[in-house]
Symmetry: D3
Subunit: 192 residues, 6 copies
């Protein structure tokens, strides 16, 4: 075949539909979102929010949003406890190596890796926006699980929203989610 | 709030993680992909394939890919049998109205609706590429289900790949999937 | 075969075990009841309640209860948001056409369609009882989901129980469910 | 309350949506039908088939179909291996006692118990038709699982269809299912 | 084969991964633990707790923990309502017969059956410790379900912890779980 | 509390009921076994097989079987692709650190860590038997998934059974599973 080959990539991509977001499982939530579901939600929000922010390059933004979780098809979704045990540098290197093994043979591989590093290092507004939306989406999903009963999800809510300060629409949505959560009137988590 | 409000949209977006792709269910496949999972997979493939095709606008391509299924949060994933019963025009109008009710209040609403119509009518290369990748992804998921046992999925395989002719990398992947399927050596479907 | 043929109907019938009730999914409830599960529960309640009401024809009652959701095997369970977008008349016609395509070839087809129209139009006591029990069962399932944590299900509770006034045993059970719900002491839904 | 009380029965009825048919699980099939799903499917088939057989009382037929599995809300679905270990008489008595505890306080309790005994003993045509359809539905579900990959389900196929001889439409459908199964061209089960 | 044959036992053992703990299902909890998951958790706790108690024989303790639920692969997990209907003696005999049919042909069968009877009759400290840990694990799982929303699980909490008095570490953990539960501040169960 | 505290360990232990074995998911198998289910099955087989092998210390054997996967509650089940990317030494260190954080405060912590190292290094017969049974159980589960339709699981079958040579009963069961698999008459995996 003379086209760059995506055939080995296809089953890896599809496996992201099955690999769960493990943090919820650790907290006892069952039947949780897949990595693909989370990433889709992040990408849509990036599109709709990014378009409201001046100077954001839509193509770059969405490329980062769609690329940044692909390596999880090889690593699984490492929960925060795993990152602590493995170390951030080790995880980062494994993710990068994973990405290379998945799409390193494509003509645009250099750009993709550059975008991925941009994301990891937060060196562009687009990269930082994806990261902020990633966090926002986590809060949105947390409240969705809380609305059907889950407690004990405090760890998924950052202590404040400074991380969103660069992007007012994200900050506004984060404030909205906190306000919604307050209406649920949960007690603070017992410290199990 | 002076930002255009996405707060009502958020739970609708998240519901796409739970709404299943119904065609598989009708064929007896259980525990199937969500709409969000399918759309994520389509978007990633659009990015990686679109970049291999000259003259494709990445931002436009990915916007179409991410927007085109949003109305299913209100309609559900209507299976082919439903479309036949409701009529294509009715379905199209309902999807458009649904999209308006979801994101019609955003500043870019006009562009989003134009992109959605572009997709529905196939009036740009980007729109046609999303549609071709959407079909390709269906075949890829079909073979994934067939590889874990499913039969009776012939209806999800188009009779030929003329629909992919405009985009050689899609055509090549479709041919690859057909070759993989042949290796599974299923008998043709009994006509239940 | 000289018997009227149910062989094509069988897989359609079985698909109702897999097609979910979508309204719950839209509200974030996961792993929800299938259409078949709901319809079974309605039919059993119709039997036990109908027998307590004078003048109800058991055979007619149960036939209506068992027939009225069959078309959902072709349409899926259209959530309220879909009905609003498609229009009630369109939905009704699609359901009728669906029923014809499923069982229109049976000798009793005319009676079945007449029973289905009776249900849709509420033109017999049996039909109205099935509709009332259908609503009651929805409330019973809503409280069952609320008892394992779900909130945000207010839309599934009618504002009052006038719809049950014709059938005192239904009205009594509706009142019982409201009383049970009050004991759960949920706050009123935040308006997400 | 002066109506006979169904309030304690409601959560028992709803639990049939969650209790699985255990025989499939023992054979490695996952995410299987609930008791409610099976019983719904049996009841619909009883209606459509019963109407094709002269002299069948529809109300009696459907009452038997809807009553006969209710006690499983207390016992669970006892697989064949359990029945062998417990003994048929013990199981029968437990089911009867269960039914009494569920609906023995209703005005029609005597009729319901009589119908249940009719079913267990096969002492009416309606009762025997429900039993035949129950077996037919099992075969239909078995082939549905086989069509998405399951093997090792031979035990769910009776050695012949003598049990259906009294009811030609059931016999015809059983023959149809066997023919469909033959098309799947499974090897006979390895005797694991 | 001249080794004692475990080949027929293997699929029975694996079926414990699929057979659910039915008590939760009866209370409306969905997607619940399997028998295997419960038994694993009991065995690990037996190891860690047993090692803290003087005079406990680790091998004997763990053998009891791992053997005592095996017969459920043939009987399913009989909920408390089933035990009441079947009678304790009948259940016990069926479990014993089941165990014999599963592993009665192994050289150590006599010891295994003796250990199982020891468990059932509580005639050794190891047996009583397994039983206490079994109860503790039930409470731990109940609170885990309560922390993601479930109510109505009061029946799984014993009225007091006298059953744990023989084993201080179990008693301490039971007290801890009750304290955690109090923090959840559920209202007492409405008596549905 | 003056007893060594297991209260923080409890939710970690229970999370093993929810964390899936990821290798199956990567191959498209859905609704797969949890880590707890696998470990339970391994422990039971260790008991029954170990008792047939002279000189095996039952308590030591079962302690190793029950301890060796505990760290996965913090790391998740790292698939083989993750181990390759992270490196075996990194994974081992993370697992050890994880075990310390889970149970390092218990009086027997030194013994537990020694047993875990014994397992990792294969320095005792008991440790090597657990490892062999772990592999055997993987084959048994693979064939169980293959019997309900899965293909593409070749990677879970070792090329030969030299790893089992030390333990004849394991070797015999492995041979039995290979023979069963041959009866399924799958074609060799297409190399997707």
């Amino acid at each position: 075949m003379d086209q760059p080959d995506l055939s080995a990539f296809l089953p890896r991509l599809l496996s992201l539909k099955l690999l769960p977001r493990t943090g919820w499982l650790q907290r006892g939530v069952r039947d949780v979102e897949s990595i693909a579901e989370h990433s889709y939600s992040v990408a849509v929000l990036c599109l709709l929010i990014g378009d409201q922010i001046e100077g954001i390059d839509r193509g770059r933004l969405l490329a980062i949003a769609l690329l940044h979780d692909l390596a999880e098809s090889l690593l699984g979704d490492l929960p925060a406890t795993a990152t602590r045990l493995l170390g951030k540098a080790t995880k980062r290197q494994a993710e990068r190596d994973g990405l290379v093994s998945l799409i390193g043979h494509l003509p645009q591989a250099d750009e993709y890796l550059a975008l991925w590093e941009e994301y990891t290092d937060g060196t562009s507004r687009e990269a930082r926006l994806v990261k902020a939306v990633d966090r926002l989406e986590l809060m949105a999903q947390a409240i969705a699980y809380e609305r059907v009963g889950a407690r004990g999800l405090d760890e998924f809510w950052p202590p404040n929203d400074d991380w969103a300060a660069e992007f007012p629409p994200v900050e506004a949505l984060a404030a909205h989610l906190r306000a919604e959560r307050a209406k649920l009137q949960w007690q603070p988590d017992p410290d199990v």
